[in-house]
Symmetry: C2
Subunit: 317 residues, 2 copies
């Protein structure tokens, strides 16, 4: 009936994508407490923070300190996000970080112009410099994260052909430098995707590059994140970014109350209920989400953290 | 790739299921304002209220007054919920109501005992009395609503075989009275369903009674409502209950903040984005949800009402 994977890998991005636009800046100790709870719940890959301009994103100013404070748990991978070569250089000087040779591109011309004052072409012209940096540090460059793949608030719909073209360009540039793209993280940065579109885009990419590992980064801005994840599971996607408590919503005027990332514990709950292993203790992860809610000081959109899992209810009955 | 329907019918249950456990009791005028906005958004079937004990459910005490205040819009069906024969009698004395000959049963023995102090068998023994009442009023008895089909907080998992058995009993009793079951509304009353289970239960029921129209009533208690709806669409389900703003959450201790019904505007948004017609203006429905949020006086979980549809963004770009 469907091609659901047997096992799914969830990367927790709450400490980075979840917290980055929160009005309240958590202390380094609070972030470390959350990371500890997330590890303890069985998550094995955590995006700890990002190396961006602390003036532009003050919530991430202490990323190096957070890394320095980590007591590494065996089997857990600690990631940091770098959006430019300066960020990569900072990441390389950071203790306890697991560097991944991941490039970042954007599928929306208007979005990348607004965010970085550069064009898509400019971004691609800078890739060789990124690749050289990674190679110098002996980090294989095998991943790309593409933002705004499914639509853009400032540009509208994004044609799937453009996504494929940009992936092809990335693959070509990597090949010129003796590197091979192994994983593409396709991001629904602004919550435009619907389930049928997820299947179409994944299908298009997979038809062209059957061996490419596809990962999804979903936002719940319009309530479709979980349906999109289910659509992705049906076509065999087994790797997702997610954020405890569905953190990452927009507290600012205009989009006030808009939802954030897909919730890690809700996604893990859905997988486990359907017999897909996640390695995660959903009850523990829900407890971490409730602790995060206390820390940020306002209700967050996660559901299982409030409705509860079925574990205890099944035991009791 | 899938059997998505071309058109979906959404019944708005917000004025009933959405408001019934809200701590703040809306005025009759407020309810009528909401119903007007919902009609204006293109919804053609609305559950206006329920005929239950006003002491037990004070939010529904004015149901008859709300019906009396309705200015009927052509093409719109106005429903009232009756959970027992006394309720049916009250419904029959109400102006502006579109009576449907719908029986109510529950798939959880523990839940029905807790709620009504009767067993499932007791419920079935009372059905002939319901049927006689409807027949006396010349209302065809052709529907059944079954609660707790997918699991129960007090009983645990509900075997699909029990659901099928209870449907068979209902069909037999109706046949004894010369009536035919045409529609079964399967309710995930406490938010236990997962997408694969939706397909299994729908498949089991449909294999046995291929002509039976199946409708779903989904709750988002654990965040899976929209994924469950997508699973249902994939197996051709084209009728859903839903509540503007995802009203119907639990404001009480123990389950505080637990989510309510699936959001009508979010579900309509998903359908329309996938090319499934709903007849609904999602922007207008989102405005109704925002008005409902103002009325109840606390944030409600609907997403599109905060994140916005894509209509304006596509026009602008």
């Amino acid at each position: 009936m469907s091609d659901l994977p047997k096992r799914v890998h969830l990367m927790e991005v709450g400490p980075r994508d979840g917290l980055q636009i929160e009005p309240k800046i958590l202390t380094t100790a609070e972030k470390l407490e959350l990371i500890g709870m997330i590890e303890d719940a069985g998550i094995t890959e955590i995006e700890v923070g990002s190396f961006v301009n602390p003036k532009a994103v003050p919530t991430m100013a202490d990323t190096s300190d957070v890394f320095a404070g980590i007591k590494r748990k065996p089997g857990v991978i600690y990631r940091g996000l770098s959006l430019n070569t300066k960020g990569v250089e900072r990441a390389m000087a950071t203790p306890n970080i697991d560097l991944d040779g991941r490039l970042h591109v954007t599928a929306s011309e208007v979005f990348v112009q607004r965010n970085t004052n550069r064009s898509i072409d400019d971004t691609f012209r800078q890739l060789p410099e990124w690749i050289a940096l990674y190679k110098k540090a002996k980090v294989p460059v095998d991943g790309v994260t593409m933002m705004a793949v499914f639509g853009c608030n400032f540009e509208g719909d994004i044609p799937v052909q453009r996504v494929a073209d940009l992936l092809a360009r990335t693959i070509d540039i990597l090949a010129e430098h003796g590197e091979t793209l192994k994983c593409a993280n396709l991001c629904d940065t602004m919550g435009w995707a619907n389930p049928e579109q997820i299947k179409r885009v994944v299908g298009t990419v997979r038809n062209r590059w059957p061996k490419l590992q596809i990962k999804l980064h979903l936002h719940d801005t319009r309530g479709l994140a979980m349906a999109n994840a289910y659509a992705a599971l049906q076509v065999g996607i087994d790797e997702f970014d997610a954020s405890i408590g569905a953190l990452g919503g927009c507290p600012f005027a205009g989009h006030k109350g808009a939802a954030g990332n897909i919730s890690t514990e809700d996604l893990a709950f859905m997988c486990e209920e359907m017999g897909i292993a996640t390695g995660v203790d959903v009850d523990k992860l829900a407890a971490a989400a409730r602790r995060a809610e206390e820390m940020v000081g306002h209700p967050v959109p996660g559901k299982v953290m409030k409705g509860g899992t079925l574990t205890e209810k099944r035991r009791r009955t």
